[in-house]
């Protein structure tokens, strides 16, 4: 069972995703490895490859997993939007160019790529800088002036006590649920919702699970609910061909 209060477990998030600094890093890796054009990403192919990596997620660290799941959901939404027929432009209206659903993602990837490049430069400077040592600001009877300078003289006893009090306050045990599934939408609620929907419709598209959900947290929760249903063999998901959205069906209906 996926537990929502399991974060005392020090989520050791040991999967091959470990080599990546998050979903953008993984995406960038997939694109570069296949030498794809970042401005024209074959979204279906990349989505499949991305999900392939996600298979190995151990849901120990919901927060880290959540970040990858949100990206998976985003990719699937883009995929669906690209399949939708383009509306026939009204003759009266200006022929506005339809915005490519991939645009925002491409921009984020470009930004992230720049960050990675800059990080490389900073890394080499860090290495170089670590070879210079500053003078240590010790205190020597003979050198009172220099020692006094090291202190700056701007920290008072009050600052010290204040720092301690603040720390005390910050330690008041509170369970921060940020990044955890949305309390309004618990996993079990959403599992029930998906199953109810299936009892009415027998099958529906994966992306429709997410429509109407208010926050990223809720989307992550929905994803987790779905994964849990799959694990419990209550639903099955499959894809009809490379460009299709993922369909969800009840386990016993799945006789194809």
């Amino acid at each position: 069972m996926i537990s929502t209060t399991d974060h005392s477990d020090h989520g050791t998030y040991r999967i091959k995703l470990d080599n990546f600094e998050g979903p953008l890093d993984l995406l960038l890796h997939l694109i570069e490895k296949a030498e794809l054009d970042i401005y024209n990403i074959p979204i279906a192919r990349i989505t499949d490859e991305f999900l392939e990596y996600l298979k190995d997620i151990e849901l120990l660290d919901l927060q880290a997993a959540g970040e990858f799941l949100v990206m998976a959901a985003t990719l699937m939404q883009i995929k669906v939007r690209m399949l939708l027929p383009k509306p026939v432009p009204d003759e009266d209206e200006l022929l506005e160019e339809e915005e490519d659903p991939r645009l925002e993602l491409v921009e984020r990837l470009l930004e992230y790529r720049k960050i990675k490049e800059v990080s490389k430069t900073l890394r080499s400077w860090e290495e170089e800088g670590s070879r210079y040592f500053r003078r240590s600001g010790g205190y020597f009877p003979d050198q009172e002036v220099a020692a006094a300078l090291d202190m700056g003289g701007e920290v008072t006893l009050w600052d010290l006590v204040q720092a301690f009090k603040n720390l005390l306050e910050s330690l008041t045990p509170t369970l921060e649920l940020e990044g955890m599934p949305d309390e309004q939408y618990s996993i079990s609620d959403l599992m029930r919702e998906i199953e109810e929907k299936l009892s009415r419709k027998h099958e529906f598209f994966f992306s429709s699970v997410f429509t109407g959900l208010p926050s990223r947290k809720a989307i992550v929760t929905a994803f987790l609910a779905l994964l849990e249903l799959i694990r419990l063999k209550r639903v099955k998901v499959f894809q009809n061909g490379e460009f299709a959205d993922i369909e969800i069906t009840k386990w016993e209906d799945n006789k194809r």
Partner: protein, 183 residues
């Protein structure tokens, strides 16, 4: 006061300060023109450099500071009880890169750019005095703004933030778009 004497005083001042001393402070203490002080400092820097010494004066974080020569690093390290700090993790480094370029910046804005939560990177960077809290943004929730510190410049051997590699296309507009669309 002859120039040898002034140079000696500059040497003492640069040594005595544990943070880089600016040209302005030196000129004020010596009651001399910044131009004159600059000449003398460059003389001093050259003397140490040419003399194959174990220490030298480095222009860093907008000021001047004595540091040990890089070639002596292996020996100096043996002396230090405290080992040199571990290199920053890739996550912390990426977070720091964003702050360096986009400061002042909030946590949510950094997270929109990196695509992951950055709480623990921020804690590490604050702990290592590479970033600081610098007020709050005037938007709902009044989120904390982060900027880099003087220690950041020292750590990477930079004189000013302008010495960071240029990134032309990185505009404020794209950042704003991302944040708006991020949740």
């Amino acid at each position: 006061m002859n120039l040898t004497k002034v140079k000696a005083i500059i040497e003492a001042l640069v040594f005595a300060s544990s943070v880089p001393v600016s040209l302005k402070d030196l000129a004020e203490i010596l009651q001399l023109h910044e131009h004159t002080v600059k000449q003398l400092i460059y003389d001093l820097i050259a003397e140490y450099k040419d003399g194959q010494r174990g220490i030298r004066i480095k222009e860093i974080a907008g000021g001047y500071q004595f540091v040990t020569d890089a070639e002596c690093a292996d020996y100096v390290e043996k002396l230090k009880k405290v080992p040199r700090p571990n290199p920053l993790s890739q996550a912390a480094l990426e977070t720091l890169a964003i702050i360096a370029y986009k400061q002042p910046i909030t946590r949510a804005e950094i997270e929109a750019l990196r695509g992951v939560r950055v709480e623990s990177s921020l804690a590490t960077l604050l702990e290592r005095d590479l970033i600081q809290e610098a007020g709050r943004k005037d938007t709902p929730g009044r989120p904390i703004l982060y900027t880099t510190t003087t220690r950041f410049l020292e750590y990477f051997g930079l004189n000013t933030l302008d010495a960071l590699p240029k990134i032309e296309e990185w505009t404020d507009e794209t950042l704003l778009d991302l944040v708006m669309n991020s949740d």
